[in-house]
């Protein structure tokens, strides 16, 4: 009898969902920082940025839990916590674990920003680019849907949009350029 594929299907769907949510959260963060759409209220963008990250973490939790419950790739709880402990696609799975743990750290740091100082909070936030890169590599190399054109299109769209938004952030003039007056 063939094993029930439900958990395997949810694991794949939740992995891609988490990646899309992470991408959307990164884009919202970049929109907040560089303000390309002046009509958007910054407070609403900030809330959206955090909410998308939280939804992404929820999808990651579902991704990990269903991979444990499904027998296809035989992951152990240790492999979900320790990067590199998975015998299945060791490096790509390890990158996914690392990305998820860093994402938790960045998310939690918002609540701890007073304790760690907002300057350290901002430094830690740079890790988001590494998280995005690690999550992309994880999805491309560990995801069994990668050869499908629609899945590949998701990765290409995510990389392209984040690269474009990051470039905008780098080259757009700062929001608070000083105005000069003489008296």
């Amino acid at each position: 009898m063939r094993a029930d594929p439900t958990f395997w299907l949810i694991a794949r769907a939740s992995g891609l969902t988490a990646y899309v949510l992470l991408t959307a959260s990164v884009l919202a963060g970049l929109v907040l920082k560089s303000r390309p759409f002046r009509g958007l209220r910054p407070a609403a963008v900030a809330d959206t940025h955090r909410f998308l990250a939280l939804l992404g973490l929820g999808a990651i939790a579902l991704h990990g839990a269903t991979l444990l419950l499904d027998g296809t790739v035989h992951l152990t709880p240790v492999a979900l916590i320790a990067p590199g402990a998975s015998p299945y696609r060791r490096l790509p799975v390890g990158l996914g674990v690392l990305a998820a743990e860093l994402m938790v750290l960045v998310y939690v740091s918002f609540a701890l920003r007073r304790a760690i100082g907002t300057r350290n909070w901002r430094r830690l936030h740079w890790a988001t680019y590494a998280i995005f890169a690690a999550a992309t590599a994880h999805g491309l190399a560990a995801g069994t849907d990668t050869p499908q054109p629609w899945a590949f299109a998701i990765y290409l769209g995510a990389i392209g949009s984040v690269a474009a938004a990051a470039a905008w952030r780098s080259f757009a003039p700062p929001l608070t350029q000083p105005r000069r007056t003489a008296r």
């Binding site: 007073r114 100082g117 907002t118 608070t176 000069r180």
Partner: protein, 69 residues
């Protein structure tokens, strides 16, 4: 000539994040969770404070002031 930085904070944008206070504690403080500028400043760290604000709520107006004779 001395450069004086006049600080304007858009209270409708400020979320009380506190980055400005960390960058230039002499020029900003938080009152009831909203940033207020203590005074105009000659300290260029207020520019870093404006840049650090995640909500873009701070505008710095740079004024050139003649020094008193």
């Amino acid at each position: 000539m001395t450069t004086v930085y006049r600080i304007e904070i858009d209270r409708s944008l400020c979320s009380g994040f506190g980055a400005c206070v960390d960058e230039a504690g002499d020029a900003f403080r938080l009152e009831n969770g909203i940033a207020v500028a203590v005074a105009s400043s000659t300290d260029p760290r207020v520019l870093a404070a404006a840049d650090a604000c995640p909500m873009g709520a701070i505008t710095i107006i740079e004024e050139q002031v003649e020094e008193a004779a």
